[in-house]
Subunit: 409 residues, 2 copies
């Protein structure tokens, strides 16, 4: 749990200074959901007129909170919105009681903020299958509502951490045709990280003015190439939620065609996604897997994910072993089209294998030197077509086993 | 590598005494393919009139040996057959040179045994992507051919080991309507073990008399519910081969309808498949995953494999943590149909969860007691239909990381 594991060696130096986003206020508190003496609940409140978009896990066993958020999304935003998140307990697979917990929290937030209950979103993250002690959370809602402030994003980021070893934030200030717009967000996540869903918990805010349907379209598009392109361990959470709130406080209207805004948002999302990988449980290496030349983009993604999720590839990276044979294995097993004699493989800029065999120019010490770096790029060209994909992952180490062999106790 | 890792705690007490199968002779030798002073080549020769069937990896990057075996299978069997296997080098992703190595070995075996080259099958297992020093193997073929003996199956089983910590054998003697028939086989494999292919290296022999097409049909059917139902690490080898030779020496004719024979063969295959899991790299627990009540058998298999391959489920088992929430997660992410409120989960005979939540009768100490056992059964009923599947796996431990973070060096 937070605090017991040393800070990831891949962590950034410090939490970034996030700009104030007009129209959003934050607060965090110690509710003692599972552990004492740590922030474990955060509240964010968006002013009337804000648009809210979201992407959530596709798990068939997703949490009561996720189901509630999905039902509320896209509703009328004139009233504003609130987001309450707790860590320490995921409220997933808690049956009808889980739905009762969500309702109790939403009622308490609605009562304290004056918002309609349909505009209150929640998330819970932590252990699965234990009843959420929601009374500990509702007891803190008045305190949270009273302490809301525009400059408290960092404490909010801290409050949603579980096995994370550092809080994750990113921001951008971008000149749009209509004027300057700000974007700021934070994320949590380090285990049970795999796409085919949304992602961990991620909350991003902007003062741009944008219609809700447009905001949702932009978010879904960018999610497919940011958070859905990371994997720590191939396991998919029951609680993953990505929400994006646009307050309009800048007075600057943007659309999906406002390239400057979309690019800046993608940069923030990519930054946060990378930070989740950098905090992968037990991670010592940040790995970029580039696949090109596949028969289709979908095939490229299948190959890239097969490499990124292979326990044998990930343990070789942990051991700084340039074991490119395991890359061949992962491409071969993926199920997507490949031809042994057309494949080429690079570690960084070192050509390792081509034409169905080790490259003539390859020297083992060159590959080994690449593997000693904390950031490693594996590039595979399939040689069949124009399909391409990039995914990000980390290595599989003793640290992962240590953290997960006894997480619950 | 073999010898450096302690014998698996899940290993059987001793190698079983395999019955002599009339019409098959074995030999093993030290060729020094990668390591000195260990058996690393085996030769098996089947008498004229034998039928040979096989199942091989579906990997797109499968080895030259596998491609060669697939091309030869189903051919005329009147001449007899030979199988030569080396460990220490997989001859996979070795380009055209790999095909040359296979040809050189087949030519040498054909010359020494008098068999046509079309009846010589090979397999190589070990590191991927390094040129096979096949001259070390061809130099031993005369010695192998001269020392063939009906009672040398155990040394053959030893010669094909790589990271295995024990040789794996199984046998049956079965009364068929036409008379008694014997079956004996051996296998290697402990990492890079996942289905969607054939399996590791497995060689099984019987003195039953059976047409080649019938033998292949029986083998493919049984493979789907034995070797294709095991997984150690979700990684699929480039070399996996399962071959079954029937010499007819018993004079007893069998067909796919000879239930006693098919059942006995399935028992031998299941036994060998289980031994591969018991020797899973770093394994300390043998885990049976039963899924029932799925919408289809295919859905049941998808759920079962999602559970068996989940790093978080496997590390929880390693930590003896009855963390059933991770079972829920794995069912949820699998992509097959599930409904939170219809699921039930058992550890052994302990009902853990039902109706979308922890079972009323469940006590944590009962679940914890199940997890301390070396053999654990996880049963999940999906509650939707009649689909069922069983798969076998092991836990994910520090031992797996240690073995694989520096396998090549």
């Amino acid at each position: 749990m937070a605090g017991t594991t040393p800070r990831s060696p891949l962590a950034p130096d410090h939490f970034p200074e996030l700009p104030v986003i007009g129209g959003v206020r934050f607060a965090a508190a110690e509710a003692g959901v599972k552990y004492k003496n740590r922030l474990d609940v955060m509240l964010a409140v968006l002013d009337p007129g804000s648009a809210v978009a979201g992407v959530f896990t596709t798990s068939a066993t997703r949490s009561a909170n996720v189901l509630d958020c999905q039902a509320k999304l896209g509703g009328d935003s004139d009233a504003g919105a609130a987001i309450l998140v707790n860590s320490g307990n995921s409220n997933a697979f808690t049956g009808r009681a889980g739905e009762g917990s969500v309702a109790a929290i939403c009622d308490a937030v609605a009562a304290e903020t004056g918002l309609p209950v349909e505009r209150v979103f929640t998330a819970s993250t932590g252990v699965i299958g234990e009843r959420l002690p929601h009374d500990r959370i509702t007891a803190k809602v008045a305190e949270l509502a009273a302490s809301l402030s525009e400059d408290q994003a960092q404490v909010a980021a801290q409050a949603i951490m579980t096995t994370d070893t550092f809080p994750k934030g990113a921001s951008a200030e971008v000149a749009c045709p209509g004027g300057p717009v700000k974007i700021a967000g934070f994320a949590k996540g380090s285990g049970m990280i795999a796409p085919d869903m949304a992602t961990m918990l991620v909350y991003i805010f902007t003062d741009a003015k944008i219609a809700q349907a447009d905001l949702q379209a932009v978010l879904s598009t960018l999610n497919a190439r940011t958070f859905n392109c990371i994997t720590v361990d191939s396991d998919t959470s029951t609680s993953d939620s990505l929400m994006l709130g646009a307050t309009g406080a800048s007075g600057v209207t943007v659309t999906p065609e406002t390239t400057a805004f979309v690019d800046a948002l993608e940069a923030v999302m990519t930054d946060l996604a990378h930070q989740v990988v950098r905090d992968g449980e037990g991670a010592t290496k940040f790995v970029t897997v580039n696949v090109t030349g596949a028969a289709s983009d979908a095939d490229a993604r299948t190959h890239a994910m097969s490499i990124a999720n292979s326990p044998l590839v990930k343990t070789a990276i942990a051991g700084e072993d340039p074991n490119w044979g395991r890359i061949v294995m992962a491409v071969g097993k993926s199920g997507a089209a490949a031809d042994r004699d057309l494949l080429s493989i690079r570690f960084g800029d070192v050509l390792v294998a081509e034409k169905g065999w080790v490259a003539e120019t390859y020297r083992e010490e060159d590959g080994a030197a690449q593997m000693t770096q904390p950031e490693i790029t594996i590039s595979v060209d399939i040689g069949l077509g124009a399909g391409a994909a990039t995914v990000w992952t980390c290595d599989l180490t003793h640290g992962y086993i240590t953290i997960n062999a006894d997480y619950r106790s």
